[in-house]
Amino acid sequence: MTDWTKQKQERARRLEAAAPFVSGKVVEPGNVTALLKSVICSEDRVCLEGDNQKQADFLAECLTQVDPADVHDLHIVQSGLVLSEHLDLFRLGIARKLDFSYSGPQSAAIARALDQGKIELGAIHTYIELFARYFVDLTPNVSLIAAVSADRNGNLYTGPNTEDTPTIVEATAYKNGIVIAQVNKIVDEVPRTDIPGDQVDFVVEAPRPFYVEPLFTRDPGAVTETQILMAMIALKGIYAEYRPRRLNHGIGFATAAIELLLPTYGEQLGLRGEVATHWALNPHPTLIPAIESGWVQQIHCFGSEVGMDRYMSARPDVYFIGHDGTLRSNRLLCQNAGLYACDMFIGSTLQIDLAGNSSTVTPDRIAGFGGAPNMGSDAHGRRHISDAWLKAGREAAGSDGPLVRGRKLVVQMVETFGEGMKPAFVEELDSIALARKLGMPLAPVMIFGDDVTHIVTEEGIANLLLCRDADEVEQAIRGVAGYTPVGLARDRAKVEELRARGVIRRPEDLGIDLLQADRNLLAARSVRDLVTWSDGLYAPPSKFRNW
């Protein structure tokens, strides 16, 4: 007779083993390592909640302290691998296999660990993909998560940084897994229930609040004239042309410059209310001036941002705010919104090849994907229309008709030279060499060329929708690649022809004078200005202050 309750029995066994270390659902911090040892078995799939923003850092630290003789060969399944403790798990042999999305600060360490064979890599996913696999074949046995507060019944308040938590808990709790939460404080009553207590097995009050990285704060003081020029080109050549109302912005300085130009240059172009009204976007501080100037109707957020909480609570008409008065973010839902409900993604990258493929991988760094591939891809399942979507689709098809579907605008903004004079345009992506070296069958590509609709550089816009073959794509890209080797090798006659057809548009073709690009155009030139715009509600982290 088949036993259909093996998972349930195993869960019961583990909870039994945990009993000596807990009091009800509450664990003392000193008991956490012992608890982890009792509920985690070797080869388990473990999600140690960490994304590009919040971190269950106390639990991570505790997990590195279990004896690898007791617990080893874990399979880590989580969106962000960004703490040094995450890497320690592999270095110590506690973990072996890895499926993840984003690595950020650990990108160099991951590349080294892969090279040394310390990590057995499953795949680098986009966020939604990894979340999807949580429900198919990467369901966690144990999840270690972070929340702001908990009551003694395990009800969790995840606060503005809700992010991945509901998704992780849903997959774990409903498949007989075990959920342990670190919280900043155990309280009598949580301000709102983001995660119901019956999905949470244990809570521990961590000795310090969980870490949150201010990943989306761009100091307006560091925006350059070149980035302002690019932002002007994008506003006039893309926003004004296609009028995308629903969109997502990447986190680079060029898109921050766009945000800061909306109330000034955007206003001059008469675009308020016409574009960029509805967003799937993290709480970018640089969007404050546009919000305050009445550009923005609604924003849904993947996560929160350090210092923005009070501002968002005071703007509930714009943000998604719980009845308790604080932001509710949700990475899965916001990613989905970015994939299906947005007409445009515009963001930066590190390298672009001659077919428009882009990657942030360098020979010694694997930064992962995060959300850009979903934001920056055409959703073939999309059926609802918008003017921007239809216009892009018609340009791509070169025709109109009842069977010509639309296209998402996927815009890549790059300065032709990056840091240290590294050309952004290359004959071959570094990620291909890396894939060869590590034996990966598919090179990590952030956005595939066939999804890219426009490339914006300081030299102008290349509209790939209007290119009719691979050769035209190549010359259109070379034509905006500036003084990089790729740009210098352009076919000048072909580039002029593409320019005559409007495939390539230079600043002067758009009526933009190079010398207009001035920092005085920015609606805020410093983080201090953003605070003033927010009426003192935005409280930036100390590292962004110069007052």
């Binding site: 004079m421 003084y483 010398l515």
Partner: protein
């Protein structure tokens, strides 16, 4: 430091009255450009001193484009470069030319 001089022939002399102008500063990733006027000449002379070695072909290309766009005949241009990217170089050159074109 790498030093070289690039010369070009412009179609017309640069207008304006100013005898000299400076743009930019020698900060990291930036450069300083001194424009001086050599009346009744179509020759453009650019003296470059740069902290980044091996980019002369890129300088040639930037200055060719600058001369095409602006026709800065009679300009003697001296550059102290601290690793500026080509787009910054072009921007500063254009800014300098605009200053020289001022009437007083």
């Amino acid at each position: 430091m790498e030093k070289f001089t690039i010369q070009a022939q412009a179609k017309e002399p640069l207008g304006g009255e100013r005898s000299e102008a400076v743009t930019g500063v020698v900060a990291s990733g930036n450069l300083e450009i001194l424009f001086e006027r050599n009346k009744d000449s179509l020759v453009v002379t650019v003296e470059v001193m740069t902290a980044s070695h091996g980019y002369k072909p890129v300088w040639d290309a930037v200055i060719r484009d600058f001369v095409e766009r602006v026709s800065p005949g009679g300009m003697h241009i001296s550059i102290h470069d601290n690793g500026a990217r080509p787009d910054t170089v072009l921007l500063r050159l254009m800014q300098g030319a605009r200053l020289m074109e001022a009437q007083s």
